[in-house]
């Protein structure tokens, strides 16, 4: 119930804010709006529960994902993706995956996205000529497929059978800490850990070779 109210409230605020800001400042406006709401909510965090925050973060995540896909300018897409990654990191926090949240921000948003930004700037990509896609039917087809997929997922998730309730309260002690994660990594998943390191070396070499200007 609160979730619904929260979502409606946020949509209203967003629409209001957007209607007053010109399109160019849309990303900044959205970010500002989100920050403003966050600050407000922090001050009044006892007033609203975890559901509200989850709903808000979810809303922002979905909106930013949509902007990634829809916006013609690749640079803007990158920035919205970063926003999305932040939201995911927040979700990780809610889910008692603290280490992962930090890793997400440092590695994913901090390194990989920076790489994207560098490449976009290197290639000096301008705005795509509209979202002219490979045929109008393909766009509609993709959207239809997406809707079908989403419906399928919803249906599957709804009918999971049992209904365990998630309580974001107490997890086990040390759940989600670096120690717990590291403990597993170096014992049970040792091999995968080592393999991942080899994978990274291969990727590094591959990237260097592929992006070289001339192969001598």
């Amino acid at each position: 119930m609160e979730l619904l109210l929260g979502l409606i409230g946020v949509v209203a605020v967003f629409a209001l804010v957007r209607s007053f800001l010109p399109a160019r400042t849309l990303p900044a406006g959205a970010a500002l709006g989100a920050v403003a709401v966050a600050l407000l909510a922090y001050d009044y965090r006892e007033l609203v529960g975890l559901e509200f925050w989850s709903g808000l973060i979810g809303f922002v995540a979905i909106m930013s994902a949509l902007m990634v896909v829809i916006h013609p300018n690749p640079m803007v897409s990158v920035l919205f993706l970063i926003l999305n990654l932040f939201c995911i990191a927040l979700f990780f926090l809610i889910l008692d995956a603290q280490f992962l949240a930090v890793i997400q921000v440092i590695i994913y948003a901090g390194a990989i996205m920076v790489l994207f930004v560098f490449v976009v700037m290197l290639l000096n990509l301008k705005t795509e000529e509209g979202l002219r896609l490979g045929g109008g039917p393909q766009r509609s087809g993709a959207i239809v497929l997406g809707a079908a997929f989403a419906a399928l997922m919803f249906y599957a998730i709804r009918n999971r059978g049992e209904a365990p309730y998630f309580d974001p309260g107490p997890s086990g002690p040390g759940f989600g800490t670096a120690r717990d994660l590291g403990g597993l990594l170096f014992t049970r998943y040792q091999f995968a850990f080592e393999a991942a390191s080899i994978l990274l070396i291969a990727a590094m070499i591959g990237a260097v070779v592929l992006a070289k200007r001339k192969l001598r």
Partner: protein, 667 residues
């Protein structure tokens, strides 16, 4: 020597293999000829030795129709081991040869005359290439081997192997010059003529095979002597059916109505082939088998009557056609058909030994006639139309002499061979007519007489137009005009001697007042003991008058021919009638349009069926296959659009597939 019986058919086979495999390249021309002739000569020598030994095996058959037949059987191997029937009859077919007086006569005639013809061919085919020569002689040897297998075979399948083999060789030899056009009017090539012969023979073979099957079902065996021993117990209907079926096969081989049509066109082959195959040996195979199965026929009077009627009709019909033919070889071909009809007539009335007698004498003079014709054709560089010949007796003396002997023999002038043999047949017919008092048989005798007259007529016509009178040759033909080389003329002389004296082997009893024995009849009596014609049965005066009547008819035929064609200069009417025949003459000349009728009635629907089948095969069957291929093509064209190289399209497909799979997993 009897133990070497198996060599008699084998030596020509060896010659066939040698010449066939090596003759084209590795042997010289002389070697090829030597191999072929030596093989046949060796067979002849062994045959003579074997016959003599056979004669010494048994007491001299002095009485007619008495004593067990003298027979020597040699089994080589078990060919088709087929176990026994439920009644205990042994179905196993063995490959064996049997020599008895009947086959003795045959092998002597076949190998002897065959050898002479081989020698003659050396000269006749001298213009052939090395490869062609080798091919010719190997085919000739193959034929000899097959014919001897046929004659000596002790069981019906062995005979049938030879039967088919000679049919095959006749196809190979008739179509020897396979790329030559034979008849410009009907566009028939020599290969077509060979095919026609083979097919006509094959149609007859259906009868032979069915006869064999009927006999093995009824008698439980395919061994000839075993069948004949049981002939009395088989029942009339079975015997009649089997006899008629075998006779149908004989019609194909021995050119009786309705399967005679291949013989005139078989003249497309080289003349020695015509002499060997279509005068002396292959065409007599039908007569031989009929006489061999005589005990079977005797059990079936209906079949015998059919044989006699067909034989007489064929004789008359062919003789009529022969009077109007212009090609020297065609005349002789129809003459052969006619004489074969005589032989069948004799067999049909039960005078089997007379049939074999006529077979023997006919072999002599018909081969002589063909070889003489070959000599003429050779001298005239290929001319075969008798209206473009004439007066050749000055240029080809030896050929002329031997040809004259043969003409006298065939027309039945004593003391040459044909007189005795033809008279034996006519006497046999008359005797049966007297015995049974049947008017039909009397009619058969009359038709036989008429045929004799016509035979005399057309043979004399042939002789006069070719050898007598003024020359009518066109310019180009005369430059090669000289007598044939000795390698060709010496066989002619030998055959002429045979045609002259062979008749004395079968002098009928009444002529010599009982002092001169009928050698042939006595020799064959144990084998053909069921011949119930006793020519002394009707009494001597009727025999004398019958003989005189026959002689007079022959002389009348000769006189008539002389009247028309013997005058000089040749009456313009005769020449004009030949050049532009009208009315009945035209019908006769066009052989009563038999070939055209068969073509329209039988072959045209068959060809239509072939065309329809071909169209069906093309449109429907091929169409189906092509449609499958086209469908595959279409499918692949459509499928190829999937691989457009358009990556987003690929991703689309992935996504779609994932959704579908998930749908089925999660439901």
């Amino acid at each position: 020597m009897l133990r070497l019986l198996w060599l008699i058919p084998l030596l020509p086979f060896a010659g066939f293999l040698l010449n066939g495999l090596l003759g084209a390249r590795y042997l010289s021309r002389r070697a090829v000829a030597l191999v072929a002739c030596a093989a046949v000569l060796a067979s002849f020598a062994i045959s003579v030795g074997a016959v003599l030994e056979l004669h010494n095996l048994a007491p001299a058959p002095a009485e007619t129709g008495a004593g067990a037949p003298v027979r020597f059987t040699q089994t080589l191997f078990e060919w088709m081991p087929m176990g026994t029937t439920a009644e205990g009859a042994d179905l196993t077919v063995r490959w064996g040869y049997a020599l008895d007086p009947l086959s003795a006569v045959m092998i002597l005639a076949v190998t002897g005359i065959g050898f002479l013809i081989h020698v003659y061919s050396i000269g006749y085919m001298e213009h052939e290439t090395q490869a062609g020569l080798a091919r010719f002689f190997s085919y000739l040897n193959l034929f000899m081997g097959m014919m001897l297998t046929l004659v000596l075979g002790a069981s019906l399948p062995v005979v049938f192997v030879g039967w088919e083999g000679v049919g095959l060789c006749s196809y190979l030899l008739i179509g020897f010059w396979y790329d030559r056009m034979y008849d410009e009017k009907t566009k028939m090539s020599c290969a077509d003529a060979g095919r026609k012969a083979f097919l006509a023979n094959r149609i007859g073979d259906i009868g032979f095979i069915l006869g064999m099957l009927l006999l093995v079902t009824a008698a439980g065996t395919l061994d000839i002597q075993a069948i004949l021993a049981r002939a009395g117990t088989l029942g009339t209907s079975v015997c009649t059916a089997a006899a008629l079926l075998l006779f149908f096969g004989a019609c194909g081989k021995s050119a009786q109505i309705p399967l005679y049509v291949w013989l005139p066109d078989a003249m497309a082959g080289p003349t020695p082939v015509s002499a060997l195959i279509h005068a002396a040996t292959m065409v007599t195979a039908g007569v031989y088998v009929t006489c061999r199965m005589a005990p079977l026929y005797v059990q079936a009077p209906v079949a015998m009557l059919t044989v006699a009627v067909v034989g007489a009709l064929t004789a008359l019909f062919a003789a009529i056609i022969g009077t109007a033919q212009d090609d020297i070889k065609k005349v002789l071909a129809y003459s052969t058909v006619s004489q074969l009809g005589y032989m069948m007539l004799a067999a049909g009335v039960g005078a089997f030994s007379a049939s074999i007698f006529h077979l023997m004498t006919h072999a002599f003079f018909k081969a002589l006639l063909f070889l003489g014709a070959g000599s003429v054709i050779h001298a005239l560089s290929g001319e075969q139309n008798i209206w473009r010949m004439g007066g050749l007796r000055r240029h080809l003396p030896l050929t002329h002499a031997t040809f004259a002997v043969a003409v006298l023999a065939i027309t039945g002038i004593p003391p040459f061979a044909g007189f005795f043999s033809k008279d034996a047949i006519l006497a046999g017919v008359l005797a049966l007519a007297g015995e049974t008092g049947s008017p039909a048989l009397l009619a058969l005798w009359a038709s036989g007489l008429l045929t004799a007259g016509l035979t005399a007529f057309y043979m004399t016509r042939l002789y006069l137009l070719v050898f007598a009178g003024a020359p009518r040759m066109p310019e180009g033909a005369s430059h090669h005009l000289h007598e044939s080389p000795p390698v060709m003329t010496r066989p002619l002389v030998v055959l002429a001697a045979g045609a002259a004296v062979a008749g004395f082997a079968g002098v009928p009893g009444f002529l010599g007042g009982g002092r001169i024995p009928d050698y042939l009849r006595d020799y064959l009596a144990p084998v053909l003991a069921l011949q119930h014609i006793d020519s002394t049965g009707i009494g001597t005066p009727s025999e004398w008058s019958a003989m005189t009547i026959a002689l007079l008819v022959s002389l009348a035929g000769i006189a008539a021919a002389w009247a028309v064609y013997g005058r000089r200069p040749l009456p313009a009417a005769a020449a004009a009638a030949a050049a532009e025949p009208r009315g009945f003459v035209r019908v006769v000349k066009e052989k009563f349009f038999v070939d055209e009728t068969i073509d329209a009635l039988v072959l045209a629907p068959y060809r239509w069926l072939c065309r329809a089948s071909a169209a069906f095969d093309e449109k429907v069957v091929d169409g189906l296959v092509n449609a499958v291929a086209a469908a595959t093509d279409l499918a692949s064209q459509l499928l190829r659009l999937v691989q457009a190289g358009y990556v987003a399209g690929y991703a689309f497909a992935f996504f779609l597939g994932t959704i579908v799979v998930l749908f089925f997993v999660l439901r």
